[in-house]
């Protein structure tokens, strides 16, 4: 894991992005989290406990699967899927939750709080809270508790209390606001398990490090089967946790193209979009300087995507930096394209993937045919799609009883 230079305040930044723009009430606690993270991130006992849980509880390493049918159907580059959907709890979120919860445990915390969009991070947090015998409270926008009822019940089943958030546009952004507010009320016994690569330092750093297991594994796996690195890595981006994990180990390999797929909603040129990097501008919100969808007055826009996990008006500071420096490219995928991909990968590969991940799959469908057959794409399937089946059916005009 990357060494931080603690004396230099710029180490909290990725280029011009990052920082700690958070109320004073939380600063002492945030510094305690930073200190604890610095203390344990290279500690052998900590890393061993993390590895055991990742392997024996979360089902790692996740498979790197050669999608033969899709490769042949699209007629271009070889397509591999990094199967984070096969993790325990059904998404990449568990990788980071185990890491942060182990830090929380070492800090003596007994209560975990978290925001969630689609519910995957909430489920992962509730799961680890159950495993560690910790209290757990999850904040989720009312829009999302309505469209992801199954995950709400899952969290409750695991012993968590779920708070529907009714302020603002009642989605992920508002859930983050509510969790930050809840944290300012009670810090002594409470750890905020932030699920995306966003927020004040050290959260983007922790999420980067704990999710980088995705690319550490995929790099070794692709070297084992192909004897070389991929040409392109593709992942979906909301706040950017699975994408940063998928990119991390390749950032220094300049020949590996990195592509993040944002939710364009009804189109990047409409006001019903969540394509932050394509449409956003520099701002300061949710603890970080980064790119945001906002108006000229600095008010944060309401955003929209069919995917509850991607409709976030900002993006992690490291992604903003990768975008500005052109190390990674970011593209918008519409609802329609994502839903088509949801059906395509189901029929072609027999995989029902999360609607979030299907934004990446949709881009692979466009990209693969333009590449020659000796090229290799790794696409991260960040989660499984069981949670989305009912809403996709509805999108297609079918009403199914949950």
């Amino acid at each position: 894991m990357k060494e931080m230079q603690e004396t230099d305040p710029k180490s909290r930044y990725y280029g011009e992005f990052g920082g700690q723009f958070i109320p004073e009430t939380l600063m002492t606690e945030l510094n305690k989290v930073s200190e604890a993270y610095d203390k344990y991130k290279n500690n052998p006992a900590f890393l061993e406990e993390l590895q055991i849980l990742l392997n024996d509880y979360a089902n790692r390493p996740s498979l790197l699967y050669y999608a033969k049918n899709m490769t042949e159907d699209l007629g271009g580059a070889k397509i591999y899927f990094k199967r984070e959907d096969l993790n325990h709890t059904g998404a990449h979120k568990i990788n980071n939750v185990i890491g942060q919860a182990l830090i929380a445990k070492r800090m003596g915390k007994t209560r975990l709080i978290a925001e969630t969009g689609a519910g995957q991070h909430g489920v992962a947090t509730a799961t680890i809270a159950a495993l560690f015998g910790m209290e757990c409270e999850i904040y989720m926008g009312k829009m999302d508790t309505d469209r992801q009822k199954l995950n709400v019940y899952r969290m409750e089943l695991l012993g968590a209390k779920v708070h529907p958030v009714t302020t603002g546009s009642m989605v992920l952004k508002d859930a983050v606001n509510a969790t930050l507010q809840a944290w300012t009320q009670r810090v002594d016994d409470t750890f905020y398990v932030l699920g995306s690569a966003v927020g004040p330092y050290p959260f983007p750093e922790m999420v980067h490090d704990f999710q980088s297991v995705i690319s550490k594994e995929s790099k070794q796996q692709i070297l084992d089967v192909e004897g070389r690195l991929p040409d392109t890595v593709v992942a979906c981006v909301g706040g950017g946790s699975n994408a940063i994990g998928s990119f991390a180990e390749y950032i220094d390999d300049e020949n590996v193209q990195l592509i993040g797929c944002e939710a364009a909603g009804k189109g990047v040129d409409t006001d019903q979009t969540a394509a932050t990097i394509e449409r956003g501008s520099t701002g300061i919100f949710h603890g970080m300087k980064s790119l945001f969808l906002q108006n000229n007055d600095g008010q944060i826009d309401k955003v929209y995507s069919i995917s509850a996990g991607l409709d976030y008006p900002g993006v992690g500071p490291e992604h903003a930096h990768l975008a500005i420096t052109k190390r990674a490219q970011y593209v918008g995928i519409t609802d329609d394209e994502a839903v088509d991909a949801f059906e395509y990968i189901a029929k072609t590969e027999g995989i029902i993937a999360a609607i979030e991940s299907c934004h990446a799959v949709a881009y692979v469908e466009k990209l693969a045919p333009t590449m020659s057959k000796d090229k290799i794409i790794i696409c991260t399937l960040s989660g499984r799609g069981d949670k989305d089946v009912a809403s996709i059916a509805k999108y297609r005009g079918r009403d199914i009883d949950e």
Partner: protein
């Protein structure tokens, strides 16, 4: 001596807060004038933000009413300009970092200077991140108000050393809004502040009753009342009477 700090010289200072443009332009202008005429020593004026993470439900609702009435940063500046036709009451803005950042830190501070704004309270801009803005608050003679929280602990000294105008002592954990109990850390924290600076301390967050105002003003140099005033504005109740009562009690 700093012009805000001077206000605290011989008295306990009362700082009421209203949200700009809640519920509309003229009412806000009138409310600021009423407060200034009835015992307010400094008026804190909120520039609404879409996602006010430090604020509780009362101020969030006020922000929404202000947006409903078409507020933006320029409208707030116009409100102050109108107020300035009648009074020179010291005004500080409360807003969030992104509002000033997006306007441009220099342009924002220049405009504040033109409107005779004395200070800025920005709850999501902790000491470590103030550098870029501080350059311009200094240049345009505006106090960047430091907040100290019950959890500030080892940070108190360095925050107090950087303070200008007054220090905003956050009375308790959580967000803005009425409360009955305040942190036990208030007295010891203020004592630690006083060990390193002469900059006065005003307590805010949660104060609503006259009794609380009286008790807490005994611990500090002034008090800030936000949600309770905003609630009176919302209900259309008598601001002058409330301001006079508080002002007389402290």
């Amino acid at each position: 001596m700093n012009k805000l700090q001077k206000i605290f010289e011989n008295k306990k200072v009362f700082i009421p807060f209203v949200v700009a443009n809640d519920p509309d332009f003229n009412t806000t202008v009138q409310n600021v004038l009423t407060l200034a005429d009835n015992g307010a020593d400094i008026v804190e004026l909120g520039i609404p933000f879409s996602d006010p993470v430090a604020d509780g439900p009362v101020i969030q609702a006020a922000d929404l009413r202000a947006f409903e009435a078409g507020v933006n940063v320029n409208v707030v500046f116009d409100i102050v300009e109108k107020v300035r036709e009648s009074t020179n009451v010291p005004i500080v803005f409360l807003t969030y970092t992104n509002i000033a950042f997006k306007f441009g830190y220099e342009a924002f501070c220049k405009k504040c200077h033109e409107l005779n704004i004395s200070g800025l309270v920005i709850p999501d801009l902790p000491l470590e991140e103030q550098g870029d803005l501080k350059k311009y608050t200094d240049q345009y003679d505006i106090s960047l108000i430091q907040l100290v929280a019950p959890t500030s602990d080892e940070r108190i000294t360095k925050i107090a050393k950087a303070a200008q105008g007054f220090i905003y002592m956050v009375s308790s954990m959580g967000v803005t809004g009425k409360r009955e109990d305040f942190s036990n850390e208030l007295s010891p924290t203020i004592k630690r502040i006083k060990e390193v600076t002469d900059v006065p301390v005003a307590i805010g967050f949660g104060i609503h009753s006259v009794q609380q105002a009286q008790d807490l003003s005994g611990l500090a140099d002034g008090i800030i009342i936000g949600s309770a005033v905003v609630e009176l504005v919302n209900k259309g109740e008598d601001l002058a009477k409330y301001a006079n009562e508080i002002s007389a009690a402290i």
